[in-house]
């Protein structure tokens, strides 16, 4: 599903040049649940942004669904992204002005799903996340755990082939964090490919492979010995 070859990302300011990713080559197969770990500033989020087609690499190759996408324009990336990728963020990133239902509905609007179909699919996924009773609430009226459940619902409502999660439990207490991780494992079991950036070894071990980065380079790749669930 994903293959990168010597992926580079260099940030330049007037005086300093910072290499965020240095010849990163990884391969992720459909159905995998890969955790990316490493200290702050090692390039985890940069890699996730590039894999999620939010950002372009400075060099190297990136094959997504067998297409070389590293030189894609914003418009092309946006097309691929909205049809194939779901995002979950540490800070939930729900839109405060929209209700739970409307937040989850948003990706379907951008993929031009009909109104009746949208309603059905949003209700289904909210039901699955156990958030139906909150469908007309605004994000500020929800707890952190509930907000992240809505964010997960939004990430999966389009049935994406790939789910990217950036520190999804970072802002949650352990009970809510566990809840989110179980949901991710469940989605993975249903066939979704998941890439998750995390600081937490505990969370990383919910996946089946861990990639460790340091200073923009892959230092180790290891399989997780046993499933926690």
């Amino acid at each position: 599903m994903i293959r990168t070859n010597k992926l580079m990302k260099v940030y330049r300011t007037e005086e300093v040049e910072t290499t965020a990713l240095n010849e990163v080559s990884v391969e992720i197969k459909p159905g995998e649940f890969v955790s990316i770990m490493g200290p702050s500033g090692c390039g985890k989020s940069t890699l996730l942004n590039i894999l999620g087609l939010i950002d372009n690499p400075s060099g190297g190759e990136y094959h997504f669904l067998d297409k070389e996408v590293s030189k894609f324009s914003e418009r092309q990336r946006s097309q691929l992204r909205k049809n194939n990728i779901g995002f979950i963020f540490q800070s939930f990133n729900l839109i405060d002005e929209l209700t739970v239902f409307e937040n989850v509905e948003l990706p379907l609007i951008y993929t031009k799903v009909s109104s009746s179909d949208r309603k059905k699919r949003v209700d289904d996924v909210l039901d699955k996340m156990n958030m139906m009773h909150r469908r007309n609430h605004f994000p500020q009226q929800l707890s952190g755990g509930q907000q992240q459940r809505v964010a997960v619902a939004r990430a999966i409502v389009n049935n994406p082939k790939l789910i990217l999660a950036d520190e999804p439990t970072g802002n949650l207490d352990s009970a809510n964090g566990d809840d989110v991780m179980k949901n991710l494992v469940h989605l993975n079991n249903e066939g979704a490919t998941i890439i998750m950036v995390t600081h937490s070894q505990y969370c990383a071990e919910f996946g089946n492979r861990i990639i460790r980065l340091l200073d923009g380079q892959v230092v180790t790749e290891s399989m997780v010995a046993k499933q926690m669930l």
């Binding site: 950002d55 914003e74 049809n83 929209l98 409307e102 609007i109 951008y110």
Partner: protein, 801 residues
């Protein structure tokens, strides 16, 4: 898609209530002002357009050269209309119109009517003033017929049918009401209240037809609008053929120009016949003001919309990650400005009728808000709203939709300085416009005050003027003995017109033979004129009762040997090359008559201060149509009441209708007063809008600096230093705007002052005051948020670090 975009737009407008309120208020003020200006311009541009044959109507103006002077006037002799209709195939019809001030009486009601017209029977064929009663071709055909405007029919007859009723007009004419016409629209040069049949006038008789005695507005209806230039080209030659009738020889000449009626109001250099013309330059200035106000309110919107970009960044980033395209986000943000413009437009349409009476009284107009609801204007308003929302919304929408999601989600826009330069430039622009308007206001008001207080060389205070007629003049001695010395009435004088604006045109020559005569302004007046308006003498003495009696005898032909004595002013003496003393007892030729100079008056301003003091003659008369009474001013209501009671006894045929010279003087500067009021109104509006925007923008940018403020406070900064730090950056912008505005304001007002021969100089304090006003207003706008931020508890603010 649109539904969700508008929903999101409405919710974010609701969420940022302060921001939304300021943007909305800015739009409402801007759009309401623009709509009123548009109504004004719409009326001006459509002046006289209601005449169905308007494109074929022309006004005839007369060009002449006489006694070495040339001129162009809006009136002609009474012969032009019949002669042109007879001799030029291009002319389908012609009409002469003249306006009189008449006293009209019906039963016990008696009023002085300033808009009593006389017109040829063709009037209703040329002009579209629909008749409610009467036949267009018949109502002005016979002598002593009169057509009433609807409002006059109501005024005199109430619910009675006026047709066939008889009105007493002047002292001894009885006119029969032959028709009722709709009241003329506001956008009409001709605004008759009454139209008497032209054939009622003595001058309508064939034997009295003349090319000279230019008193009549003459209008032609052409068969074909395109024939006007060709016809106009034929006139000089035609007039040369009639040189023996016009007396044109040597450098004297007489000819005519034809002005399309629809262009007279805004484009003619020749004054209007029945009301002052408009001026296309005012339309340009007003359009510019409207545009500036709109630009100020749209730049407020741009400023506020981009100022909150940091708050909107997350929302935009998330939407992009979820697949929103730049185009979709662009439209979503544009939807916000469209929603706001729509709301503001609706509010403005509701507000315009509320403010219109104020606007109408300020600018002496009769604008109606109903025009706004017409389909054409509605379509225009829709386009106006759309372009306003595009103007305001396109830039913020472009900026906001261009955010890169990965940077947003990294928090890169949290303390963004992007767009700062633009926001600062917009603030400078807004304040610069405000400062220019404030400078203009100060100069305009300074000049108007100067005009009010300028020593004119005569005393116009507490002098009232009444129009009069022969019957009153005959009882003048009786009136004088009843009035003068009573209730503070100091003197009474009979003149042809008041000294505020003397227009009478005569000719004068230093040679008693009348050679090399020059035009001169002259005023017929009685022996009380100089004392009534307190005009001083540089040499000699004033007109005496004996002079007035000689003038009367000379006028009636009963005396052919006496010499008329006249007064001249210092300018006229200088023009003859004499000192005032040398001028005394000199014989000169005045209007072809040998006269002797009896006195030299000190120069006084007998025209507007736009013009230098010209040459003037005052000569004795026993007739006149204006009475001037000087009051001591201690009990004006008492004096007026007393005067009216005596007037009613002595002149019951004429209502006691008067005005004060001060009012007449003020009317001469009506357009300047309007400009001053306009500048004042719009300077306040511009400052209000600029301050609103500054308040909004500074609120956001100061809040962004609260972390910096906390750190400074921890390090020991005082409240004052923090407030001056936060406010200072904005006040600096106001200083920049002042520097930009100063030369522009100076240049514009310097140009305007050149229109006056007598004017103030632009003073440094005007700039200082404008700068202080702008700085003060700006400081008030930013200080609230500065103080609030300076009071923040650093422990709270830095907790999240």
């Amino acid at each position: 898609m649109w539904k969700s975009q508008i929903r999101l737009a409405l919710r974010s407008l609701w969420k940022n209530k302060l921001n939304t309120t300021i943007k909305l208020a800015g739009f409402i003020v801007g759009i309401t002002s623009c709509l009123m200006i548009m109504l004004f311009i719409q009326q001006e541009l459509n002046y006289d357009a209601f005449h169905e044959k308007g494109d074929r109507l022309v006004r005839v103006v007369m060009e002449y050269g006489m006694a070495g002077e040339s001129g162009i006037v809006n009136v002609t002799g009474n012969k032009v209309a019949p002669a042109f209709k007879e001799d030029f195939a291009e002319v389908a019809n012609a009409c002469r119109v003249i306006e009189y001030n008449q006293v009209v009486k019906f039963r016990e009601q008696i009023f002085e009517e300033p808009h009593f017209y006389y017109a040829d029977s063709t009037f209703f064929e040329l002009f579209t003033f629909p008749l409610l009663q009467g036949e267009p071709g018949e109502v002005l055909r016979a002598p002593d017929q009169v057509v009433l405007a609807e409002r006059m029919a109501k005024k005199y007859f109430g619910d009675e049918d006026p047709i066939g009723k008889v009105l007493r007009v002047g002292t001894d004419n009885n006119y029969t009401v032959s028709g009722i016409m709709q009241d003329p629209p506001a956008a009409s040069q001709l605004k008759p209240d009454f139209i008497g049949s032209f054939v009622s006038l003595r001058d309508a008789r064939a034997e009295r037809l003349t090319w000279w005695n230019a008193n009549y507005a003459t209008y032609l209806l052409l068969h074909n609008a395109e024939s006007r230039p060709g016809l106009e080209a034929k006139i000089p030659e035609y007039m040369r053929r009639h040189a023996n009738e016009t007396g044109s020889e040597g450098e004297n000449y007489l000819s005519y120009r034809l002005e399309p009626l629809l262009e007279v109001h805004l484009h003619s250099p020749v004054p209007g016949n029945f009301e002052p013309n408009g001026d296309i330059r005012y339309i340009y200035i007003l359009s510019a003001i409207g545009l500036f106000i709109l630009l100020i309110s749209t730049s407020s919107y741009i400023n506020l919309a981009t100022a909150v970009s940091t708050e909107r960044a997350k929302e935009i980033g998330v939407q992009k990650v979820l697949g929103a395209s730049r185009g979709q986000l662009f439209w979503q943000h544009l939807a916000e400005s469209m929603v706001l413009t729509g709301l503001a437009l609706t509010a403005s349409i509701a507000l315009v009728p509320l403010f219109l009476p104020f606007f109408n009284s300020l600018f002496d107009r009769q604008l109606s808000a109903n025009v706004l609801l017409g389909p054409a204007f509605m379509g225009g308003l829709f386009l106006f709203g759309l372009s306003t929302s595009l103007l305001a919304g396109a830039y913020p929408a472009t900026v906001l939709s261009g955010f890169e999601p990965f940077r947003v989600l990294k928090g890169a826009y949290k303390h963004s300085s992007s767009g700062n330069l633009l926001r600062k430039s917009l603030i400078v622009f807004q304040f610069a416009i405000s400062v220019i308007l404030v400078i203009s206001t100060l100069v305009l008001q300074g000049q108007m005050q100067y005009i009010q207080e300028k020593k004119l060389g005569y005393d116009k205070s507490h002098v009232l003027a009444l129009r009069t007629d022969q019957q009153v003049v005959e009882k003048l001695d009786a009136l004088r003995s009843e009035w003068v010395g009573q209730k503070g009435i100091q003197s009474l004088s009979l003149v042809y017109e008041t000294p505020v604006h003397i227009k009478g045109g005569y000719d004068i020559s230093r040679s008693v033979n009348g050679e090399h005569a020059k035009m001169v302004t002259a005023l017929p007046a009685d022996e009380h004129f100089l004392e009534t308006v307190n005009i001083g003498l540089a040499a000699g003495s004033g007109i005496s009762k004996a002079d007035v009696e000689i003038a009367a005898r000379l006028g009636s032909g009963s005396d052919t040997t006496s010499t008329l004595s006249i007064l001249i002013n210092e300018s006229q003496a200088r023009a003859f090359g004499w000192t005032p003393e040398e001028a005394l007892r000199q014989f000169v030729s005045f209007n072809g008559r040998r006269v002797q100079i009896k006195g030299v008056m000190k120069d006084f301003h007998f025209a507007s201060l736009h013009e230098p003091i010209g040459n003037l003659v005052v000569f004795p008369t026993s007739w006149g149509n204006t009475l001037m009474a000087k009051l001591d001013g201690r009990d004006i209501p008492g004096a007026l009441q007393y005067m009216e009671s005596k007037w009613t006894q002595l002149a019951p045929h004429r209502p006691f209708t008067y005005h004060f010279l001060d009012e007449e003087f003020g009317r001469m500067y009506a357009s300047e007063w309007q400009a001053a009021k306009l500048a004042t109104t719009f300077s306040w509006l511009a400052i209000l809008l600029a301050c609103l925007a500054l308040f909004g923008v500074s609120s956001y940018s100061i809040v962004q600096r609260s972390r910096e403020v906390s750190i400074r406070k921890v390090l020991g900064a005082s409240m004052t230093s923090i407030i001056s730090l936060l406010s200072g950056s904005f006040l600096k912008l106001v200083v920049w705007s002042f520097l930009a505005a100063m030369p522009v304001g100076w240049y514009l007002m310097h140009q305007w002052l050149q229109n006056f021969t007598y004017h103030i100089e632009i003073q440094w304090w005007m700039f200082t005051l404008a700068a202080l006003l702008a700085l003060g207003a700006a400081f008030l706008s930013v200080s609230v948020q500065s103080i609030r931020t300076a009071l923040v508890n650093p422990a709270e603010e830095l907790k999240g670090e």
